[in-house]
């Protein structure tokens, strides 16, 4: 059976993973336009039959991007999604963003804006020396057009917009002097890209796809095709298309899929070369010549991963004291013992230890990636904990970091302050778990020294608020999915009140963990529209304080009645009795509860939480 026949057979079945494997085998043997066109047709049909999750992508570009379509269908299928693509004709990117039309009707999940320098800044691209006095105006015009059109679209839709960085298609006479003189062509391209970053930081839900770096990965001279650019306006060589579609799909995954939260690492022959139990602290390879320098670089990579918000854990068959001594005593270790949120170093089986990590720091096992050089340990974890992402480090340590990144699980399209803090908060969570086990609940809560900040969101918090609306499933009374632009509207609406909750305790800062939205129905009645809290802070009875606060706000506003609503979803069963547990009585209608503020006394704040109110600084 040829790989082509095997691929066709797999497409006739219902197993997506098997079809994806067969597709990879087929394309590794026969890449190219014809094979991809053929494959895209088959996987498109299969994706429809299997009803894979839809991904509606609008590609706005300054050149004919249509030839990318079959490649993107294929890469999205490999990522488990069914692509719907709207390539807007290349002259129309500005109009499509600026005014309502087919882009809006398409209802995209993501909008990419891919502009080539040659098309939108021809002076800078083609004759920057001959037109030096006009370059600044051209740059302002380009950035102005992007800013204006993106803002116009943002006002109509909260869909993520992804701006692509600029890169020149070729290099001219300036090749050897460019960075030495003024105006520097590359320097001006850098400035344009910096201004794109400013747009992305200033507007909600705008991201940057670093197209220039993608081109750099692949090789500029093989990426662009000057003949096709002039002849058919397609600009890209056919061989660049699979690479571009793969990277665009990677970005979409980073934008839409939950990130892996924990990296659990083996020690011997993973973080250092050799076996500490046999070779001793002085005998292992870390720093110095190969392979020690490769292990040191992998440790640096892991440390950087932690700084991006991924919690670290060790899983190793060793004497704990031996392992700890390496971290404490070896002078060349980039990683410290305390960089890890938890250590599982003993002689127990690793599947059990991986599970223990997830429990200790309170995350699902599907949010955990485990890496080990030992194939048997990897198989064991795969078998007993199939939801864990397992990376077998079956290569030179110089390639370990790439292997971990290739899972895609650690990529994200943005990094908030909460994300950065998260690795620390997992370590704190483990200490809390330990304390909770050693004492009774009420005593435990009091020792935590919880500090809850309640106030309207500030402009820098809108992205995080939208993120929480999008991701919170369990402690979420109505599961309304408000976007960043909805949130901004709410802040302006006199009949609506929105507050965010931030929580800290003696072990650390949890960041922004809750949202409360209320609506005044009329002079007498206020309704709780949304009430949700991150599951990271469950079990601390912070919700008591939140309800007391919103009740007290309703009284201050002179309302006589407070209405709460529970809309059952597949995942929010834990809050089904929330309102009854907090002094509300069942009222008319399914899932509707009411509290009479005229007859009943104030709910009162629990004494284990300190409330901090800051003035609205929006």
């Amino acid at each position: 059976m040829t790989v082509r026949d095997a691929f066709l057979a797999a497409c006739a079945g219902n197993d997506h993973a098997a079809a994806a494997d067969a597709l990879r085998a087929f394309l590794s043997e026969t890449t190219g336009t014809a094979a991809t066109q053929f494959a895209a047709k088959r996987v498109g049909e299969m994706a429809e039959r299997l009803a894979l999750p839809e991904m509606r992508v609008a590609l706005l570009s300054s050149f004919t991007i249509d030839p990318l379509a079959p490649h993107l269908t294929v890469s999205e299928f490999l990522a488990g999604r069914r692509l719907f693509l709207e390539p807007i004709p290349y002259q129309q990117w500005f109009t499509a963003l600026s005014a309502p039309g087919s882009l809006d009707e398409f209802k995209p999940d993501a909008v990419f804006l891919l502009l080539h320098l040659e098309d939108v800044a021809p002076l800078l691209a083609r004759r920057h020396l001959a037109a030096a006095d006009a370059l600044a105006a051209e740059g302002d015009q380009v950035i102005g057009a992007i800013t204006e059109s993106v803002k116009a679209f943002r006002a109509r839709s909260a869909t993520p917009i992804i701006l692509c960085t600029f890169v020149a298609a070729d290099r001219g006479v300036e090749r050897y002097f460019d960075r030495r003189v003024t105006p520097s062509r590359q320097g001006m391209i850098d400035q344009l890209n910096a201004r794109l970053s400013d747009i992305a930081r200033d507007l909600p839900n705008v991201f940057i796809f670093d197209y220039a770096e993608t081109v750099c990965d692949f090789g500029r001279t093989r990426w662009f095709d000057p003949v096709k650019s002039h002849h058919t306006k397609t600009a890209l060589s056919a061989r660049a298309l699979p690479y571009l579609s793969g990277d665009v799909t990677g970005f979409i995954s980073a934008l839409t899929k939950p990130r892996q939260k924990v990296l659990a690492v083996d020690l011997d022959n993973t973080l250092w070369g050799g076996v500490v139990g046999e070779d001793g602290v002085d005998g292992i390879a870390i720093a110095g010549d190969y392979p020690g320098n490769a292990y040191a670089d992998f440790q640096a990579f892991v440390k950087n991963l932690k700084a991006s918000g991924v919690a670290l854990a060790t899983v190793s068959k060793n004497n704990r004291a031996d392992a700890e001594e390496v971290f404490r005593a070896h002078p060349d270790m980039p990683l410290d013992w305390d960089d890890f949120a938890t250590h599982q170093i003993d002689w127990n089986d690793k599947a059990g230890n991986v599970r223990a990590i997830a429990e200790e720091i309170n995350v699902g096992v599907d949010a955990l990636t485990y890496v080990d050089d030992n194939p048997m340990e990897c198989d064991l974890v795969r078998t007993y904990e199939p939801d864990v992402a397992v990376v077998h480090l079956d290569a030179s340590p110089s390639l370990f970091a790439q292997k971990v990144l290739a899972t895609g699980g650690f990529y994200v399209a943005n990094l908030t302050d909460e994300d950065r803090l998260r690795a620390e908060s997992y370590a704190a969570e483990r200490e809390r778990t330990a304390l909770a086990k050693s004492t009774d609940t009420q005593g435990f809560l009091k020792t935590l020294d919880l500090r809850l900040t309640l106030r309207p969101p500030r402009s820098g918090e809108v992205d995080r608020v939208a993120q929480l609306f999008a991701k919170t499933n369990q402690f979420n009374l109505t599961t309304k999915r408000y976007t960043a632009s909805d949130v901004m509207e709410m802040c302006e609406d006199p009949d609506r009140q929105i507050k965010i909750a931030r929580l800290a305790d003696r072990y650390g800062d949890y960041g922004l963990i809750g949202i409360i939205v209320t609506t005044d129905r009329d002079e007498k009645t206020r309704e709780v529209d949304s009430l949700l809290m991150s599951c990271r802070v469950l079990g601390r009875n912070v919700e008591r304080a939140i309800v007391a606060d919103l009740e007290s706000d309703a009284r201050d506003a002179g309302r006589a009645q407070l209405i709460g609503r529970y809309c059952a979803s597949r995942k929010n069963g834990m809050v089904a009795n929330f309102y009854e547990d907090h002094g509300f009585a069942p009222s008319e209608g399914e899932g509707v509860f009411a509290r009479d503020l005229t007859r009943l006394p104030p709910l009162g704040f629990p004494d284990h939480v300190t409330i901090i109110r800051e003035a609205d600084a929006t």
């Binding site: 190219g32 094979a35 047709k41 004919t64 002849h231």
Partner: protein, 80 residues
């Protein structure tokens, strides 16, 4: 490469690009008889042919590629 081999390669590429059986194409197949062979289809077809026959087809030659048979002529000349 003989003309027969060229035509067979051409059939294989046409079959993948236009999602039809290889024997459904004749010497006279053209954009007039095949709705999928539109301007975008032509751009993709040229890319696929360049890969299949490992050559580049300049714009000057592409204007002559009006039918299945004429494409065969262009390829035969380049591969001679």
């Amino acid at each position: 490469m003989t003309r027969g081999e060229i035509d067979q390669g051409l059939r294989e590429v046409f079959a993948d690009m236009f999602d039809k059986p290889q024997d459904s194409f004749t010497a006279d197949t053209s954009p007039d008889t095949l709705s999928e062979w539109d301007s975008l289809g032509h751009i993709r077809l040229v890319a696929a042919l360049e890969e299949r026959f490992d050559l580049s087809i300049p714009p000057e030659d592409q204007v002559e590629m009006l039918t299945f048979d004429l494409i065969g002529d262009v390829l035969a000349e380049k591969l001679a």
